[in-house]
């Protein structure tokens, strides 16, 4: 296929760009694999009741028994089905990861664009962001989780708050660069201004880095939520989570290391595919790389 065929394939209004980006992604096997793995995680979370048994039922008689037909990965120190807990644990990780990414993106982009466009407001916003960045994210999250009622919403909010300043910084720095671009001057010279200028010319050109940052926020939120569960903050212990499973397995690590390995491997794998997809996505959405990459 020649360059020109590829170029004409990328044409066709707004839909063209998205479908071209999708085509670019599909052309790379690593991306396809990562997307497949992520899809498996999502299916696992959605259809958990069909795949696994009861994740909270305690059965002291069966505690720390090995794999069996009723519990594929054995049972933990309270006799709970490890496989079921691992499957249900993906719900927590994915929900927190995606929610935090969404919240951090919406607030981060809004505040970041404002900070990039307004001199005075921007200066104030950035000092607040600096102040928030000075506190370690995990401490901030623990503090918020401790202040509010236990629950998954608390965890999401607690993790989102330290993620927002990072997004604000990134968006502001991108906006400062985009503002100087000749195409912004050109847009102003045809009479565009105010919100339409931001919406049509500045926002779309920040999306690449924002999407990458959002996937990193998602990955880091998955880890942070595991850390919070591991520390026992946020959600109650009976809610299945990979962090909580690892915390429980810690005491039995010498005799039953697999109890920690299962949730650990799932956690690492999920974070890895999310990060890889983020990188690939940023390449795919860059219109210049689309053509080069597909030749």
């Amino acid at each position: 296929m020649s360059v020109y065929d590829q170029v004409s394939a990328t044409r066709g209004g707004h839909g063209g760009r998205i479908s071209a980006a999708a085509g670019y992604l599909a052309a790379n096997p690593a991306t396809t694999i990562c997307f497949g793995v992520l899809l498996l995680f999502v299916l696992m979370a959605v259809f958990a009741p069909l795949i696994a048994g009861d994740p909270v039922k305690i059965d002291p008689a069966e505690r720390l028994t090995g794999p069996s037909a009723s519990a594929y990965w054995g049972r933990d120190h309270l006799g709970r089905d490890v496989f079921a807990r691992a499957v249900y644990g993906s719900r927590m990780s994915l929900l927190v990861g995606f929610s935090v990414a969404a919240i951090a993106t919406v607030f981060g982009v809004a505040i970041g664009i404002y900070a990039g466009m307004s001199r005075v407001g921007g200066a104030i916003a950035m000092r607040l962001v600096d102040a928030m960045m000075a506190i370690p994210a995990i401490l901030l999250a623990i503090a918020f989780a401790a202040l509010m009622d236990a629950g998954i919403l608390t965890v999401i909010i607690a993790i989102s708050i330290p993620e927002i300043p990072r997004m604000v910084r990134l968006v502001r720095s991108v906006v400062l660069g985009v503002r100087q671009q000749p195409y912004v001057a050109a847009a102003i010279s045809i009479g565009t201004g105010g919100l339409p200028l931001v919406w049509r010319h500045i926002l779309p050109n920040t999306l690449g880095p924002v999407l990458v940052q959002a996937t990193y926020a998602c990955a880091s939120a998955i880890i942070t939520s595991a850390v919070l569960s591991f520390l026992g903050v946020g959600t109650s212990p009976e809610v299945p989570s990979w962090g909580g499973m690892m915390a429980d397995a810690r005491s039995f690590f010498r005799i039953h290391p697999e109890l920690m390995v299962y949730p650990g491997v799932l956690l690492s794998l999920l974070v890895l595919v999310v990060n890889v997809l983020g990188d690939r996505l940023s390449d795919a959405l860059d219109p210049r790389k689309m053509v080069r990459g597909s030749v």
């Binding site: 170029v7 004409s8 990328t10 044409r11 066709g12 209004g13 063209g16 760009r17 001199r119 671009q181 000749p182 195409y183 001057a185 050109a186 847009a187 102003i188 010279s189 045809i190 009479g191 565009t192 201004g193 105010g194 339409p196 049509r200 010319h201 779309p204 050109n205 999306l207 219109p287 210049r288 053509v291």
Partner: protein, 348 residues
């Protein structure tokens, strides 16, 4: 008052810039970027602003368009009247209606002047939809007409193209289409051919000249290339260090240069009979710093014709022929000395 255009005022100018002065205020210094710039642009006329980098050509254009940053740049005097309406006293809100509708602008670098994330059809439509109450479909139809007008082959299939899929010359045509989509009275072209190679330059200049005739707009052509001026401009204004030092009909200035700076520029062009081993002539010295007020002729320190009197006070503008003005007290000596120049002889 030695205001050149007030005495040569065109009957009904599209744009009349009068006595425009502008400063850039920094933390510790004030730079005088424009000093009493006056000129006017008549109906259907191509007027060229010529000068080297930093002489104030682009700043003049940006001031007219109201594109300079609010903080930092300060207009200290003057006006820019578009059909009698002072653009410098117009609110940003109103300016947004004027930009793109009554004044179009094209920029130097077509590679970066189009937004990479939108198709060219969308970017041309944006101008139309911004200023005319038309449907998306009608705007797209008009965008297609514009692409045809700027002679883009196979225009229909280009509407959905992204800027990176087009060559530099094509992109500059798209920029022109964007700027002209609402039939502006005035087009400001800021070095429209500088980033293009020579054959494409000629095509783009021809296009601008033809469009001027076809749609009857006026053009301010900013350039540092005298070849570009010679090709298309009806009148030219030579700028140096924020001042217009000489202005007049193009053929008049080429045939009868009457300012030391204009003479210097023309001498530094290779003549028709130049041989490969001939060295190009340059103007000695460099552009003066503009953060100090210069009393006399700004070019005097570099000028081979200068004398003591040049430095004493700003030379009065003198009219040498109909519409040909210069701020040089040694105009006669310059003319005399340039009479054997290849270019001058070619135009005379």
């Amino acid at each position: 008052m030695n205001d050149m255009t007030s005495r040569t005022a065109l009957a009904d100018p599209v744009l009349d810039v009068r006595n425009l002065s502008l400063e850039f205020a920094d933390r510790d210094k004030v730079t005088c970027a424009l000093d009493a710039v006056s000129f006017s642009v008549g109906e259907g006329e191509i007027v060229s602003l010529v000068g080297e980098s930093g002489c104030g050509k682009s700043v003049t254009a940006m001031t007219i368009m109201g594109l300079l940053p609010k903080h930092g740049a300060r207009v200290t005097s003057g006006s820019a009247l578009l059909r009698g309406r002072d653009l410098l006293q117009t609110s940003e809100r109103e300016m947004r209606r004027i930009r793109g509708d009554r004044i179009g602008m094209i920029f130097q670098d077509p590679m970066t002047s189009l937004n990479p994330v939108h198709t060219v059809g969308m970017q041309i439509s944006e101008t139309i939809r911004k200023h005319r109450r038309v449907s998306r479909g009608a705007a797209e139809k008009r965008a297609l007409e514009m692409l045809d007008l700027v002679r883009i082959p196979d225009a229909a299939s280009r509407l959905g193209a992204y800027p990176h899929e087009l060559s530099g010359g094509m992109r500059q045509r798209v920029m022109i289409a964007m700027a002209l989509a609402c039939d502006p009275e005035l087009l400001i072209a800021d070095e429209p051919t500088t980033a293009l190679d020579v054959t494409v330059q000629a095509q783009v200049l021809d296009l601008i000249a033809d469009l001027r005739r076809d749609i009857g707009m006026s053009v301010i052509l900013i350039t540092h290339d005298l070849g570009v001026v010679a090709g298309v401009a009806d009148r030219m204004m030579v700028m140096y260090a924020g001042r217009i030092v000489e202005q007049g009909p193009t053929e008049k200035l080429f045939a009868d240069p009457a300012h030391g700076y204009t003479a210097g520029l023309m001498r530094s062009l290779p003549g028709v009979n130049a041989r490969m081993r001939d060295e190009l002539r340059e103007i000695p010295g460099s552009v003066p710093r503009l953060d100090r007020k210069i009393e006399g002729c700004v070019f005097a320190p570099r000028c081979e014709f200068s004398s003591e009197t040049c430095l004493a006070s700003l030379p009065q503008a003198q009219e040498r022929a109909q519409g040909h003005w210069t701020r040089c007290i040694h105009a006669d000596a310059v003319c005399e000395a340039m009479s054997d120049n290849d270019i001058v002889r070619a135009w005379a």
